[in-house]
Symmetry: C4
Subunit: 215 residues, 4 copies
């Protein structure tokens, strides 16, 4: 189709800009959460970066929505794009994919299947863990009865949640913090499970190859 | 067989009514647990809904048991039907299946295999988590030494149990609450495991396809 | 081989007796742990049952060791038999297998592959959880600072450990209790993982079959 | 290639010495952590062992780096060698592989695929758990507010972390202890997951074989 083709061309062109905007958004959010004593000037600067990058995401999504013919089909098949437009902290779910598409065009030597799945999901886990730590720290820091006060504690909570260890020495107590935590638990269990599954499958394949080589 | 055929026709006809009854039962139970200051009139109303829908489940099960020839075979192959008749809060284990059978007759476009498993088990997890939160809240709310007092805390407990995170900041202390929890743990570990497994398998397949397309 | 054949015949004959002895041992251990105020007569009785059944295990193992020609091969291939002879509480790892072998000779209708794996590992998990609860209760009950005082708490601990939820509201504090717990964690993670894996695989197969039937 | 060949010969020769050095390093580290009241003489001795073995690792890595032609390719494909050279406590990730290579040349009877994966990852888990317990004990022992004071508690923490149970009764509180813990969580989840996956796969295969034999 013509419209479908136009959409693909657009997405290929937009990819590098979206990748940069995603990293900028995450950086701006990180600075605002991690540096509380920000001077008014810098505060305005980083707030502007947040707002501008977010606007870029929204505008780009709407532009694509308008560009295409079958809008219901667009919304249904690219529902993840809608989710990461409304909640930009979930962008890591797309960053990696976009980054991969950019890399691909440069025709670098590729990793094997399992290594690629592990790299993709592993990187997504790291970025989501980082974003979730920021969000939870933002919500919990000054909450009464909270036990997550520093970024270190937030990262510690994120690691113990993503791996479903759940020590319980650092847990969110606010409603918004817990909503983030529930998301991290379910996303974490799925993504970490995918890493583990790929690792097992790679390990089994490697041992099988080794066994065959010997005979 | 004639009797087997009659049973199938009955089940196809009964499906939509059972689906409605299941949702009504869950709604009635939810209202009774979540709105403690119910006026006597409404209390009677919702209690009636609970009793009537439950009776529907029991009558329908007995009707099928009488309809069929080989009763021992019926009980053994449809043991899940017996379980959800005795414990209607476990109905979500059947709701989704029934809903799918209803959908199928309308010949909607179907999802791929892994997406269907993920949707089926994911929805079951959500509904079971909701039902378990209600049951645990009902048992724990006024128990001495309990730490689950609100529906929010009950949902938080359910999420951290279903993903086997187990922070330990919200745990049942009553015998009935713990029985529910043990059920949630084992059902959760199996259902969440199935979601994770399907997700891994889908991810691997998608990456493999992408790799092949490129070559 | 002749000796190998003789061994097989012996094992087939010994199976039912070992099954009964295993259940007796577990029952005797359970009574001794769960009924602390036992009269001297009953105490002696159950202690005798424990000692006699254990002796049966040891004698049977030694008999087989003597019966066979290649003893090193016997010890190496049947190392699980040695483990459950030294630690009879781990017998559930063998009970189910023995029970299955007994059932098989009666030529009952068989379940499909995944259902059999799930039934086997599921039953093993339940029996091991029961045995571990008894062992932990025995060690922890009167330990200073312990939080497992009743059989209910021990079962609650076993469930939250087997599923790797690990709330932390009931944890062993004695060295022996923790050794049991470490065993439960690793055995549990493997056995529960096997149940989950089989369940996923069965679910995927069922959905695939359903999809094919429709087309 | 000639250089690639020379590298392989080198590695085959170096293997047994590296294996001994790895065990020596772990032993020296263990003594220094577990025997705090060491006399000055012994302290110097074990410190020397640590330094010497570490130097061996570094020198061996650099020697191989110099030996080979394509250095960037060497660094990229053998990144694990770099990791275990910088952090020798992670050597267990290589010990087992090396040990296997040594065994192989002796042409012992081999285990089947799943048993080999389970043995490899299981042994790695045990050695890493041991090394991590030492590292965490070293960091936590005298830290204010810590709850890991003895080696037993450190092992208990390692077991509950590796299996992602996470009771929370023993958790690191120092920054370095938590960094070790995060590593253990992610490595543990992957390695234990591989053991579980292999075990499931072996169980399914065994049940399938049994089913076929009967028919």
């Amino acid at each position: 189709m013509d419209s479908e083709e136009r959409l693909r061309v657009w997405e290929e062109r937009a990819d590098p800009y979206l990748l940069v905007a995603s990293l900028l958004y995450l950086a701006a959010y990180a600075v605002q959460v991690l540096v509380p004593g920000l001077s008014p000037g810098w505060h305005t600067f980083w707030l502007t970066v947040t707002v501008v990058t977010w606007s870029v995401f929204v505008v780009e999504y709407l532009a694509r929505l308008i560009l295409c013919d079958d809008r219901r089909h667009f919304v249904r098949t690219r529902w993840l794009d809608l989710v990461v437009t409304v909640l930009p902290l979930l962008r890591p779910l797309r960053i990696v994919e976009v980054h991969e598409r950019v890399q691909r065009r440069r025709a670098r030597p590729r990793l094997n299947l399992e290594a690629r799945v592990m790299a993709y999901t592993g990187l997504t886990v790291v970025l989501l863990g980082f974003a979730a730590s920021l969000a939870v720290l933002h919500d919990e820091r000054y909450a009464p009865g909270a036990n997550i006060h520093t970024f270190g504690e937030a990262l510690w909570w994120a690691a113990s949640t993503l791996t479903t260890t759940g020590y319980g020495d650092a847990t969110p107590v606010t409603v918004r913090g817990r909503l983030v935590a529930v998301g991290v638990m379910f996303l974490g269990v799925a993504l970490v499970g995918a890493v583990v599954g790929s690792f097992s499958s790679w390990l089994l394949r490697r041992f099988r190859l080794e066994g065959e080589r010997e005979e």
